[in-house]
Amino acid sequence: MHSRALPLLPIVLGLVLAGLLARRAEPIWMALPFLAYFGLGILQSPSAGKLRFHATRAVEKIDAGGGIVRIAACNRGGETVHLRLTDPLQPGMRLAEGQTQTLAALRAGEEARLEYTFHSGRGSFTWESVRAVASDPLGVVETELHLPAAARFQVQPELKKFRPFPIRPQRTLHTAGSIPARMGGRGTDFWGVREYHPGDPLRRLDWRRTARHPGQFYSKEFEQEEIAEIGLILDARQKTDLRAGENGLFEHSARAAASLAEMFLRQGNRVSLLIFGKEIEFLFPGYGKNQLHRILHALSKAVPVMNPDFDSLHFLPLHMFSSRSFIMILSPLAPGDWRLFPRLRAHGYPALLISPDPIDYARRALPDDRTTGLATRLAQIERRLQIGKITQLWIPVVEWQVDRPLDPLVRAAIRNSHIQQER
């Protein structure tokens, strides 16, 4: 129990003491209205043991980044009480409409309602209870209660629909899909000609070659198309999350990861996700909408956090990905992170690095002067050296200035890597 009127007591005590010290009755008489105020408050205060409330909470999604919270608290006790409901906004929420607290007098069986609309960026929000303060009509005696009213709400990262990328991993999974599997079979692209095997469909016979070799039959082969296993690695270390304004660089990486996952899953591939930040969060490979939902859930919860144990990408546990995985890493790169990539190569993973450009991102928040120019040049040199070490390993790197669309850059990087491989 506590009270908003608690600080009135020093006034009462002050008046009584002043009267006693000055041996005058008037100050003591002056304390009388204050004492009457207290006394009436205490007399009318609801007894804590008889307070019974039941609260419910519903959170309704209104758009991509917001919701309406509706709370109802019903007085299940026998007394009439004054009830103040308070539901403070969680970090990352902005109040759009309504108010987060309300005051009502409730007779037995009546209900107080609180409703507000909030907006927020990507995030996962959980409520356990609602704060209720029951009091007498004057608010002299207040009893604080936490009424269970649990709810969860997620704002998932914004998705952009990418067209499928022409990736050509070394190894694929033996299930029909859309990724060229580097072997003959059923597909659309011509792969080669071989001797006819009993059971080959007649429409696959290479009639020209068969005509040139009497007594022998030849069949055309097409490149098998299968699904691939994609491993997405999202760098959620705080030191790589530059902040300029409301959003940080990590928000762009999270959105890119969500869009890539959606695109690969739409193609029927198997996708896994590893978030490298406070801890290692790994989502096992999976297919379809359920996997997309799991990935979006993990991404909406992901927050860049500092953890000295995971200071460098070098500590990434690669054994979590199967040997057939095509690894896509989303990281702005911190100094020394290039050491991961020789490990990737040594394990035989085909990989692609998408690196949101931290220098370009930070530059927008800095003044355009000589010092900034020099610092930017130095940082760019350092970054170029690091990226140079990665490209030497034949790992395509997408240097992404986050205000530009990502998918043409990835497409171009993959195409260039194919050309290099063919040479």
Binding site: M30, A36, H82, R84
Partner: protein
């Protein structure tokens, strides 16, 4: 809602008017700047700027009223000022409390119960305080000491109950 808005201005204004009249009648002009300060605090509190303004206004007004008693300012005026300060403080805090807009049934009940309690408290306290000094009861010194101890213990009990 309109009644609340009127009351939250009327009570503080009447309180400062009583203080100003009392001090002016006693010829203590030096107190008037402090009264003006209290009035400013009341106005800021009534505008809903911050909860601390209402506290400041109440403490200033109650302090001025108590000070007036020692400076031989009219007792009824100071008593009335202190009571109005308490009422003003209560109404300002109540008006700034978050209530549903437009008001529903529970809001009306809330206002009714609150005003009824406030009027009862002040209606009991003020007449008793005004009439009290004119009543002369001779009690032995020992009884007076006992009553003093009882009052202090009661206040301490109230404090403990409020602190929970």
């Amino acid at each position: 809602m309109l009644r609340r808005k009127i009351l939250k201005l009327v009570c503080p204004l009447a309180c400062t008017a009583c203080l100003a009249a009392g001090y002016a009648a006693a010829g203590i002009w030096t107190a008037l700047p402090v009264v003006f300060l209290a009035l400013s605090a009341w106005l800021l509190a009534a505008l809903g700027r911050s909860g601390s303004f209402s506290w400041a206004a109440l403490i200033l007004s109650a302090g001025l009223a108590a000070g007036g008693l020692f400076a031989s300012v009219s007792f009824p005026l100071m008593m009335l000022a202190a009571t109005l300060a308490l009422a003003g403080w209560d109404i300002v805090l109540f008006t700034n409390a978050p209530v549903p807009d437009p008001p529903d049934g529970s809001t009306r009940l809330l206002s009714e119960r609150h005003y009824r309690s406030l009027i009862t408290a002040l209606g009991l306290g003020l007449p008793a305080a005004l009439i009290g000094p004119s009543i002369r009861i001779q009690i032995p010194f020992g009884w007076m000491i006992l009553l003093g101890i009882f009052a202090l213990l009661s206040l301490e009990g109230v404090w403990r109950r409020l602190k929970g």
